[in-house]
């Protein structure tokens, strides 16, 4: 009897829910930092979601430069939460999840479909809070036409080959390389020069967090010395590089005046569309010694989360689940030239990215370590790379890094 009553109760509840759903259409509020051309497939996907589920979607775009960090913090602090919101990888989640702002998504069926690295990005304190929607890559852009002009026949595979490619280009009057230092691209370059450390010790990040490996060690000393030597050997103009940002350096590459540049895979689409005469490729970075191959970096870009206080929790979870379906997600991945977070997920990448995707398929891609380093450490690390470029004493810099690494 009791069971039957409960059963009736449930079906009545379900019925009213269905009815109310039909009557007033739910509108999901979504907050993200992708704007303009970066939106790529997002508007089309939102439309498809509405068509499939009848749930309306309102996407609010606030770029990083436009104050995403401030807005999202004040809104959560004030309780005006979006139903679903974008994370930069797990950056926000690291503080938002412990503060109780994010819904626990561990029970969602798509969790099991994530690759191991996606699953580790998604987890904070053992629970899954995120759907990593993409892994974008950092690698080395090269201008095919300029390399030909310099007489470089094959792509550099090791660090010494890379240096000699820079030297050859330079003697042919070609600007070989830029390490833009104004907005953090120098540290990206230094990290990709450090991929060798992860190649030899895949657990490096964990070891560093446990205090087993210090910055003041042979490996990191080599990385920072290599970075400093680029300037000392006249392969880059240090002062000039400290005065440009990533987009200005990219501009040089677009104009066909630069042989090599470390940058992200998201530029590929725009390069192909707006600069059809530019012949280029995108590869891992030749960071290792003889007989090694280039290594790339992959990092979680957009990751979706649901607010703990969302009034449309069911619909919000539905939205995230929609993104986790391969047919939907792949539209996004193709438009962003990104790797899939799903097991066995294959995304067709443009031919320019073949050297990179070959490296990734060959397991020659490491996770962006910054995601796991302590919050706020990024600033200290970025500053250290600048100091190294400026020619300050490497050991002093690295000791300073060790100090702030352990303090955070």
């Amino acid at each position: 009897m009791k069971k039957a009553l409960i059963g009736i109760g449930f079906s009545v509840a379900a019925l009213t829910l269905a009815l109310s759903n039909a009557q007033d259409q739910t509108t999901l509020k979504i907050l993200g930092f992708k704007v303009g051309a970066e939106l790529a497939a997002l508007p089309a996907l939102n439309e498809r979601f509405t068509k499939e589920t009848g749930i309306k979607v309102e996407y609010e775009a606030i770029s990083d430069a436009g104050g995403f960090a401030e807005v999202i913090r004040t809104r959560f602090a004030g309780g005006d939460v979006p139903d679903v919101f974008m994370n930069h990888g797990r950056d926000e989640a690291k503080t938002f999840a412990p503060a109780g702002y994010m819904a626990d998504l561990s029970a969602e069926p798509w969790v099991k479909t994530l690759t191991a690295s996606a699953a580790s990005v998604a987890k904070i304190g053992g629970k899954t809070y995120l759907l990593p929607a993409e892994f974008v890559s950092l690698g080395l852009y090269y201008n095919t036409a300029l390399l030909e002009k310099a007489g470089i026949k094959s792509l550099p595979q090791t660090y010494s080959q890379f240096l000699s490619a820079l030297n050859t280009s330079k003697t042919k009057g070609i600007n070989p390389f830029l390490v833009p230092g104004k907005d953090g691209w120098a540290f990206v370059t230094s990290l990709i020069m450090a991929t060798e450390l992860w190649r030899t010790n895949p657990d490096l990040t964990e070891d560093m967090l446990a205090g087993k490996v210090k910055f003041d060690s042979t490996g990191w000393r080599t990385v920072f010395t290599n970075l400093a030597n680029l300037g000392k050997r006249g392969l880059i103009d240090t002062t000039l590089n400290l005065g440009i940002d990533g987009s200005q350096a990219m501009n040089e590459f677009k104009a066909g005046r630069l042989a090599f540049l470390v940058h992200g895979s998201w530029e590929v689409t725009g390069l192909k569309k707006n600069f059809p005469n530019l012949k280029f490729g995108f590869m891992g970075f030749p960071s290792g010694p003889a007989n090694t191959k280039p290594v790339g970096i992959v990092l979680p870009g957009v990751a979706w989360a649901v607010s703990a206080k969302s009034k449309n929790a069911v619909a919000a979870r539905k939205y995230v689940a929609f993104w986790a379906q391969e047919k939907n997600l792949n539209d996004w991945l193709v438009s962003a030239n990104a790797f899939s977070p799903l097991k066995g997920g294959v995304v067709p990448l443009p031919s320019e990215m073949k050297p990179f995707s070959d490296a990734a398929a060959d397991d020659r891609a490491i996770n962006f370590p910054l995601a796991d380093w302590p919050a706020g450490f990024q600033d200290a690390y970025a500053k250290a790379t600048i100091e190294a470029m400026q020619g300050k004493d490497i050991r002093t810099i690295l000791r300073g890094l060790d100090q702030s690494f352990s303090k955070k």
Binding site: A37, I62, G66, E70, D80, S247, E252, G264, E267
Partner: protein, 287 residues
């Protein structure tokens, strides 16, 4: 002696006129150089991406009007313009009503409490806004003012009060007291004196202040971004910053947006430049 002097006079005058011409030309060149950065921005706004990368100094081969048309649509230009105008107008009215009221006693009476109040207002000129942002959001939420026009208007009024009080106080200090004293002898209350005697005198300062308030409201984007985020309530600068992306900006879309957004202010400036000058210079001359 006398003869030679009078003979020299025309020479000197001619020399002076010559110098005057040199001076005029020098000033014109100087002002052209001064405005060059803005001219560059205008030129770039008409170029294609390729031209920006490859030939930075050259004029565009063809005016890329589509830079403007696409930005115009994406910004929802007319709606943003209307929103911003409405907010600006309301803020200007409120500020020019309550600020002179407060400034009057602050300018006329010097005792411990008025000095303290003046200092409190003056401190507002240097308070960094975002230190107050998170608590302010909580307050607005409690008052139910988040995402409403009145909410944003009230904050703008409060933020503009320090400058307005500072302005009015220093202006009123230069106004001779005799008129007010005569009015008082005639039995006028302070409020009547304020309304009928002082307020008309303040008109020039008010004109200027309106321009200042308009500028600060027009050019701001953080506040509406945080407190007025409904898509249809967007202000014009918020629309502009939506063109600055995650990985830097593209001048061929940002600069047209910037120019479209600043145009109304520049038009207003062209009409009100005298008031602006008067306001900037308030207190520069002893009354």
């Amino acid at each position: 002696m006398i003869v030679s002097l009078s003979r020299q006079a025309p020479v000197r005058r001619a020399k002076r006129r010559g110098r005057q011409w040199v001076s005029i030309i020098a000033l014109l060149i100087l002002s052209l150089v001064y405005l060059a950065p803005l001219l560059f921005a205008v030129i770039v706004s008409f170029k294609s991406q390729l031209e920006v990368s490859v030939s930075p100094l050259a004029l565009p081969e063809r005016l890329q009007i589509e830079n403007y048309t696409s930005v115009f649509a994406k910004m929802n230009y007319w709606r943003s313009l209307l929103n911003t105008l409405g907010i600006t107008f309301a803020v200007a009215v409120c500020v020019t009503l309550i600020a002179p009221l407060a400034a009057y006693p602050l300018a006329r009476i010097s005792n411990r409490s008025t000095r303290l109040i003046y200092q409190i207002f003056a401190a507002g000129l240097v308070i960094p806004f975002f230190a107050a942002m998170v608590p302010l959001y909580g307050l607005m939420k409690t008052l139910g003012l988040v995402n409403t026009y009145p909410g944003v208007i009230l904050i703008y009024v409060a933020l503009n009060l320090p400058l307005a009080v500072f302005f009015y106080t220093s202006f009123i200090q230069t106004v001779p007291r005799e008129l007010e004293e005569a009015a008082a002898l005639d039995g006028c209350s302070p409020l009547a004196t304020f309304w009928f005697i002082l307020l008309p005198l303040l008109r020039p300062v008010t004109g200027t202040l309106v321009m200042f308030v308009a500028m600060s409201v027009w050019n701001d984007f953080l506040l509406p971004l945080v407190f007025l985020f409904r898509a249809e309530a967007r202000t014009i600068m918020v629309s502009v910053y939506s063109f600055v992306g995650e990985y830097g900006f593209d001048p061929t879309s940002l600069f047209p947006a910037v120019i479209l957004a600043s145009l109304p202010m520049l038009v207003l400036f062209a009409f009100l430049s005298r008031q602006i000058v008067a306001g900037i210079t308030a207190g520069a001359v002893k009354g």
